[in-house]
Amino acid sequence: MIDTDIKKNEIVNLFSKNTDYLISDNEAIELKKFIEKTKLPDSKTEEWKNTSIETLLRHKYKIGNKSVVPDEYINTFSFYGLDTDRIVFVNGFFSPENSTVNQNKGKIIIGSVKEAKKNNFKIFEEYFNKTNLYKNNFFSAINTSFSQDGAFIFVPDNIVFEKPVHIVNFINGNENKVIVQSRNLIIVGKNSQIKIISTYHSISSDFTLNNVGTEIIAKEDSNLEFYIFEGEGNEASHINNTFVHQYKGSRLKTNTATLCGSLVRNELYIDFKDEYCEADLQGIYLPDKEQHIDNFVNIIHSKPHCTSKQLYKGIIDNKAKAVFTGKVFVAPDAQKTNASQSNNNLLLTDNAKVYSRPQLEIYADDVSCAHGSTTGQLDREALFYLKSRGIPEKRAKTMLMTAFVEDVLNKIEIKPYRDYVNYLVNKRLKGQKVEGLCSVKICPNC
């Protein structure tokens, strides 16, 4: 047994030596108290009961250093025709050398939070650390307390930004076990539109821990598409806490694709602060070997006339484990809420496991809430049908698996990004390597 208190102090002490945090000194004092009384999640923590963090606690970490990556790791994306403004982060630190941002686009700001704090302090102060992200769990607390940088995107009111923004995150252990944190802040102004892609990759196959925190503010009638691709190494652990505040008439679409990682926990909180908001959330997870992928979605319908949709699909192979929790809270006066949730899983072996937990808490009476969860195996009849036409078993299985996740992938609206994810999903379903650098290098041999 690992002593979680010792481990907790070890991680906290690691960061305490640093300075130059994003939070203010006053916030730091308060957070210190919060972290002191917050335990690491264990099997007794209700929301973590199917996800043990023991794998990530086994290691003694160092803090990842600031560095630059070779451009060839980034060029991959343009092979798919993905033309974006690109900000690159290595070990959570902004790497301007790798980034390409055309800054002359009005008042839109695409860059790093650290720079924003320096150059746009008013905006930073207005929005930074204003959600409940900091007190979500131990990881979000240390992310808030000790992060030094992250992506910063600010879209002022009435701007339709056509070109997607790509946040590329690399983790580089350099043969060390490292812990990395990044804190992202995204603000989409009134009537504004933007599409953001956030991808995660690792350079070496070390035991790493990436602890990500993201705050998103979607203002009145704004429209945000937010895509996440997790392609770190299969020894990497990844904790991702994302908090979204949506204001009147805003529309959000997310799509989280988790292909790699040893232990992955994605938490996505959507808080409808006003009426007529829409959130369309999708996810795909494909764990194999001994991977563990956990998606935790929490939607708070605090106001009437809001719509939320969840569609999460997973294919679980070998001894891998997946967890899906979809919480929908409907407050007493959130009438005319429309919430739907669907989670479908395909288990490929007898040892693969999935825990699917729809949790609906409804206090209003005039609402439409639906949820469905299915877990099954590949359809043997369909498989026989394909084989009876001459298609070999392996190819037939890949066809059926691809078909199973197709609707989630088809909802990715940026075609080059969809092609990229499709390519890697297909590779993965054929049993080929996709993790780490394989998610950025197109090498026919691996």
Binding site: A382, Y385, L386, K387, S388, R389, P392, L400, F404
Partner: protein, 250 residues
């Protein structure tokens, strides 16, 4: 083409086929008739390679090869085709991709190059016209949302695409109205050559008005109890299966 000798098979310990003997030569159409539960569909499934059945005795030679040495996909590539009684819906797998994959595998098996994309689409269009398949297939998933008739026509369309040496039609007439039945039968007749053969499995004589068999077998209680010409089907139509059941039981 096909030689079945003393074939016995069971499922979960229950014997379904109790010694089948059957020989089919190129150019022939054989009808297998019989009451429900006589083992007709089991025979079709075993020939196609469905694994839930356990073959306990006998042998089957297909084009001089031991059929049981071949996987379902190899049987298909060797030229065996089963038109399913209940074609499955496969959401997310488009018919175009499905047929393209199947045809590629067949061509590779024959040492041919896979077709080009345009060549394939042209070929598909020709075959669709040949079997009078009027359902729009582009962008549609295999059998998804198809009516009963469309599903059966889709089977004949696939048969036209893969050009098998031996096709087994498992109750292709079930659930079809007379117009759909004619289309299906026309398709089968157009695909008939002197080099291929068919087994038409049916409960009713009706289909045999359109697909004229050379030989008619009656399967009852897991055995072929009577073999004759086309007139045997007409006789069954007239007297039903009761007469044969009685003869067999005596």
């Amino acid at each position: 083409m096909l030689k079945i000798q003393g074939l016995k098979a069971e499922i979960e310990g229950k014997e379904i086929l109790k010694g089948i003997n059957l020989e089919i030569k190129a150019g022939e159409v054989h009808a297998i008739m019989g009451p429900n539960g006589s083992g007709k569909s089991t025979l079709a499934s075993i020939l196609a390679g469905r694994e839930i059945f356990n073959v306990t005795a006998g042998k089957v030679e297909f084009k001089d090869k031991n059929l049981f040495d071949l996987s379902p996909e190899e049987r298909s590539r060797e030229g065996l085709f089963l038109a399913f009684q209940y074609p499955v819906e496969i959401p997310g797998v488009s018919i175009t991709n499905f047929m393209r994959a199947a045809l590629d595998e067949h061509r590779i098996h024959k040492g041919q190059k896979p077709m080009t994309a345009t060549g394939f689409l042209k070929f598909m269009k020709e075959k669709k016209e040949l079997v009078e398949m009027d359902t729009k297939l582009e962008g549609r998933a295999v059998n998804e949302g198809f009516s009963g008739g469309e599903k059966k026509k889709n089977e004949i369309f696939q048969m036209a695409m893969l050009e098998p040496d031996l096709s087994i039609l498992d109750e292709t007439d079930s659930g079809l109205d007379i117009d759909a039945l004619k289309v299906v039968a026309d398709g089968v007749n157009k695909l008939k050559t002197k080099n291929n053969a068919s087994i038409v499995i049916t409960h009713y004589q009706r289909l045999l008005d359109y697909i004229v068999p050379d030989v008619v077998h009656v399967l009852y209680d897991g055995k072929i109890v009577k073999t004759g010409g086309r007139e045997l089907a007409l006789e069954l139509e007239k007297y039903g299966y009761d007469k044969i059941k009685k003869e067999y039981e005596n």
